[in-house]
Homo-oligomer: 405 residues x 2
């Protein structure tokens, strides 16, 4: 669609957002005069409007980027271009995994708006996990999502002209800088964005003074900055995944960029590991705890296995790489991707524990001493993963490490 709704950017409100919707061909003509509009975003980075025809129950979401980010009260300017990146990434992902992302109905660069499928019947995965739910389709869906978006955006499949065009299109400096700082830098130095209880200081000092660890993190950071291997979601934690029984939708790819192949699945795994630790405190009784924790480890294993199986199948059937059928080439790539994913997962676990952006899994543990105990465990696990990237050679070894944490 090429409707130009507004000549310049302005933040929408519950009235003006209707102009966007009315220009589309989504609701019945008769419904337009009495649509129900509600702003449901947390207002930190984006406005999110839920717009519904309550008679037919048809609904959609209008998401608009705000020209700033607001975190912990402070506000700084942030590019509106992330709305373009988000809608283009959703459309690109939909080419290979249409069932795993919200449908995009319309986007508008001037307004920094994406109009998309309503997923109100889904729940944010992190919340579902904390409440003790499990999702049988999740592992296969995330394995499929990460494998297909990886393969189809890579040099193993795309013509190099097309690949290089996509690299430019998804150049995402401002949002990458956030990750660079908050994931790969600040938590490993005494930086004022860090946020942790004073009781963790000696564990934090251990990290800051661990030269071997810092050396490995610097390599991971350099990979993040310089490897343009595949189109990543860029922020695939359990807050970026909507679920309901047998349905998974990966949302919010505003951090999308071309980066190292193991990055997305690493973030998924890290957030499951964090939830695994927190279940020791959250789960209501031992049997329930054991079964949820078992589910989490199986989900980690199955998501990785699905990733490799799906990627392997695509490679065998569709790779355009002249070396695709040389023995060991695929295996080398997968092994390297796996090892680096372990390192990325370690960074995510550490930064979610002592950096600026925490996870509710650990932060909502009621008893202070229990919270501290599992945060220490998280820091130990993160450090171990980063330092043992090359010693962990398969996914069950990884889940053993998480189980042992």
């Amino acid at each position: 669609m090429s409707v130009q709704i507004k000549p310049t950017y302005e933040p929408l409100n519950e009235v003006t957002v209707l102009e966007v919707v009315k220009a589309l061909d989504f609701f019945e003509e008769a419904a337009l005069s009495h649509l129900h509009v509600k702003e449901i975003g947390d207002g930190n980075l984006n406005l999110v409007f839920h717009i519904e025809d309550q008679a037919s129950k048809k609904a959609l979401i209008v998401k608009q980027a705000l020209p700033y980010a607001k975190v912990v009260g402070e506000s700084w300017p942030l590019t509106l271009d992330r709305a373009r990146i988000e809608s283009e990434a959703l459309l690109k992902e939909a080419e290979s995994v249409p069932h795993l992302v919200p449908k995009v109905y319309y986007s508008d660069r001037t307004l920094a708006v994406t109009v998309m499928e309503d997923l109100s019947d889904h729940l944010i995965l992190r919340k579902g996990f904390i409440d003790g739910h499990t999702y049988p389709a999740l592992a296969e869906d995330i394995g499929t999502f990460t494998a297909k978006t990886a393969f189809y955006s890579s040099d193993f499949y795309l013509h190099p002209f097309e690949k290089k065009e996509q690299v430019k299109r998804f150049s995402n400096p401002e949002l990458c800088k956030i990750t660079e700082d908050l994931v790969f830098t600040d938590p490993f130095f005494n930086h004022d964005t860090n946020d942790y209880p004073a009781e963790l200081q000696s564990e934090v000092d251990k990290i800051w003074n661990d030269t071997e660890l810092l050396r490995e993190v610097s390599k991971l950071r350099f990979s993040f900055l310089s490897k343009a291997e595949i189109l990543l979601h860029g922020d695939l934690h359990t807050g970026s995944i909507f679920v309901k029984e047998n349905s998974t939708k990966v949302i919010d790819p505003e951090f999308a960029f071309y980066g190292p192949a193991g990055f997305d699945i690493a973030h998924f795994i890290a957030n499951l590991a964090l939830n695994y630790l927190s279940q020791n405190a959250h789960a209501k009784e031992p049997f329930n705890r054991e079964s949820i924790q078992l589910y989490l480890l199986q989900t980690i294993e199955k998501s990785w296995d699905t990733f490799t199986e799906t990627f392997t199948q695509l490679w065998n059937e569709k790779s355009t790489d002249p070396y695709a059928h040389v023995d060991g080439v695929l295996e080398n790539f997968l092994q390297k991707t796996f090892q680096q994913a372990i390192g990325f997962a370690g960074c995510e676990i550490i930064r979610r524990t002592i950096g600026l952006a925490h996870v509710a899994d650990l932060d909502t543990i009621q008893q202070k001493d229990v919270e501290l105990f599992y945060k220490k465990k998280a820091l130990e696990l993160g450090s171990k993963l980063i330092k043992n990237q090359r010693n962990i050679t398969n996914i069950t070894e990884l889940t053993d490490w998480i189980r042992g944490a």
Copy 2:
């Protein structure tokens, strides 16, 4: 300068090129009517006009890209954007190594023209080597060129916004595709661009059937395609270097792009290794041969040592990387760069022997059997380097391997 000389692209000739020159402020007004113009390019990819005021001896070069490439009689379309890349790369290089590149006086995107310093008093290095000359400043100059252009374009120095902007600006799909095919693919398969005497078939078969070798080449090719580490010259063989006693000028960066850090110096080293082999046939008498060959090995060693020393100094003085002062981070980077450079050098040696584009060093050997002998040696050396990237840990080990070839 923002003079618009022509509204659309047209190939210049010895008359119309004067319109470009007259619009500049280079020659005296009085000289403009009797400038001496000569087209001195080989006409394959570019027109090159030498324009001189014979009274004052002042001269300049007008280089214009042609909209096609002509190799071995065949002609295919090739982007004029390479003229923009070339002039912008020359200007970028001049920010850190002004004494090692020709000065750019003017460039025009419409005409695909770069007007630059005349270097007629210099000689192409490959020719100088074949004729048995040596150049005392060369090693330090190339070590400095590769180190400074690397450091100042890297994430170790640039703000990530600036770095990502440069990556987009130097996206160079068409010329990278030439390298991808001619260096990393075709020579390793039975491809019709390959060009070698029938007597080499059994050695060539050995390469094509060496799974371990192909696996390593595929990794190097993937690095070339996906690692955006530094701004590379992209084609730093001895035909891209102009020399005279104590002056070195790196020319023709039309292949410039963001790629893996060891790539440029690898190509320089590979071309010196090829000349080293050829000196067994070219050098007039044993003493001369020994001294030239010793010079070549010393030049390889000193160029690498200068690269690491210069890079280290810049790192210590100017790195903006938060991990710059963590023990081992620089050493890891240099070691990885070195090992990958050995692999890239191996690919260059092989493709210059059996691929489409040869080197005169080997091809001008008069006696057929001697030529074949050293071409076989080149193939062996190239293969060994590729397979032993991780076993060669320092530069004198590398020159030992070349000496032993």
